[in-house]
Symmetry: C2
């Protein structure tokens, strides 16, 4: 299996990406194609003393920056992400892993591969930490204004991904809302509730913003505007608290000693709540596989994203999504048509 890694899509530099690729080819049954500046990548491969033949460089001259708009980035036809998506389109790679700008990666993947048959809107999903198993939330920003049918598609795609990649036979699906009761919600969430309740998915009803982090559901759907607010607000609150805790620890000699005693546990906690541990954010609903790695400065996270990409290919995730989207749409339409 050949995973294409966009080796330049990271403002922090290519080092963790190249290191992550090396870790991945050593651990998993895959080859990695690195798209980016040949000279820099070759130097990093030498730096990490990689001499194997399972990593290949595909040179390209342009780089999409974190600040580039998706539209502007599409003009960079020889950028590492453009080349990466083309390699998959041409059958020279099986999936893309990108540590770059999510919007630009989505734009390139959508332009090069198109949508998956039957899916109206591709979505950006992400695994959020909870007190139990992680929770897959989508959409996180690809579609700011949605219709209930789009959220149904998100639910189906999310459930397939959760089942195939996290090995949960019947993931619990919920719709994000401002209250637990079925009567709570806005026009979109209420209509989505109705659709999901009629679907064969394992629908558990409304999920409140806080319940996402309690593991009330395995998959939670919302429009991309709300999903983005949920993601950023939780990250913002987490940063505020962690910086507060750090401040407490640095107060004096006594607190520094206390912090020292806690540091192994705190490191483990940070790892647990760090989403990049779960292997990145999949773009779902595209006619190709693309995993966004958050761990731009962390080789371990890049390796994890490559692992998830190999699993998505092995489980034929897009075939599964197409089949289920079609069968569920058919079933719901049949029900509507019934007397």
């Amino acid at each position: 299996m050949r995973i294409v890694l966009d080796a330049m899509g990271n403002d922090a530099g290519a080092t963790p990406l190249v290191e992550g690729a090396i870790l991945a080819v050593k651990r998993y049954d895959c080859r990695v194609l690195l798209t980016g500046k040949e000279h820099s990548i070759a130097r990093l491969l030498r730096h990490f003393r990689y001499t194997g033949d399972r990593i290949e460089i595909v040179p390209c001259r342009q780089v999409v920056r974190m600040g580039d708009s998706p539209t502007a980035s599409l003009l960079k036809k020889d950028s590492s992400i453009a080349v990466a998506t083309r390699l998959v389109k041409e059958g020279r790679g099986d999936a893309v892993v990108s540590a770059g700008n999510t919007g630009s990666s989505l734009a390139h993947a959508l332009k090069t591969w198109g949508r998956l048959r039957g899916v109206k809107r591709p979505g950006i999903a992400n695994l959020m930490p909870t007190s139990k198993q992680p929770c897959l939330v989508l959409d996180l920003g690809a579609n700011v204004d949605c219709k209930p049918q789009h959220l149904l598609d998100f639910a189906i795609m999310g459930a397939v991904y959760y089942r195939e990649i996290l090995g949960c036979p019947s993931p619990r699906v919920g719709v994000l809302s401002n209250g637990e009761e079925p009567t709570k919600g806005n026009a979109l969430s209420l209509a989505t509730f109705e659709l999901l309740a009629k679907s064969p998915l394992n629908f558990v009803g409304n999920v409140e913003g806080g319940e996402v982090f309690e593991g009330k559901a395995d998959v939670v759907v919302c429009d991309g505007f709300v999903g983005n607010i949920l993601l950023k607000a939780s990250e913002g609150a987490a940063r505020l608290i962690m910086s507060g805790v750090k401040g407490v620890m640095k107060r004096n000699v006594l607190t520094l000693a206390g912090a020292l005693m806690l540091s192994p546990g705190m490191r483990a906690l940070k790892k647990k709540i760090d989403a990049s541990e779960y292997g990145g954010a999949p773009l779902l609903g595209l006619n190709g596989i693309c995993i966004i790695s958050h761990g731009s400065s962390n080789a371990h996270a890049v390796m994890n994203a490559i692992r998830v990409a190999t699993e998505a290919v092995r489980h034929n995730i897009n075939e599964c999504i197409m089949t289920e989207v079609q069968s569920i749409s058919h079933e719901l339409e049949g029900e509507d048509a019934a007397p």
Copy 2:
């Protein structure tokens, strides 16, 4: 000044409410009317050895429970919140403080007082902790589907409240969005951006979910669905982390010792990120003043909410809101009519 405190609206019991009332009348220039079960309240006043004449009990027989729907609670005409809002309507009290169910408090206040002239939709506001000064976010759930004009009203009301209660001459107002750039947003946030940019408010543009907690703006507006998700998600993420930190501390003797060294600082941090320190959540846009106290189990928070209520009365906050809503609407309409 007479503040009416709904002394029963708290499933945890009336104790912290009565204690908070006693703290308030000792510290601030106000009287407190406690609505609720006469016998229980009188017993608590004796328990706290209060013998002054600045607290009065107004007996009533019904109690709105946390689980009651707003509509169901409206039927309880002799409930402590119904009586509290009536006392203000009849001129026997100047403002209400409630530690109860926000939805029911809003329903009773709206039914008894009506909306403030010129305000289309009352909103629920709340001060969120940030790394700098707190940030007032509204609406948090009163209105799930909004129009841009409603968000403009929220912005004006929030700015007046922030100016008068937090003493900031020109609060920075932002609109919650999924990106910093003016082009980012959904249909509602983009239209609101345009309105706010034309208004005389100190508009600072889009504010992302995470930027709320960095103090990028003093007042952030959004519809009640999104606001509720923002609030609950940040609380959920905070709970997840704090319980993780606690877990780390309890791991073994060494970590327990470390925790002991950190405990004074951790208590201070908890206090800093606890919104109830700021005195509760105002309901804005009603023809009367109502402050919701979150600190249902905390007399100090109840006292703070009473203090905020006295300040809202003293600053004539509703007069200020009416004047500014009228003048800004007039200005924006004039601009629309200009050639």
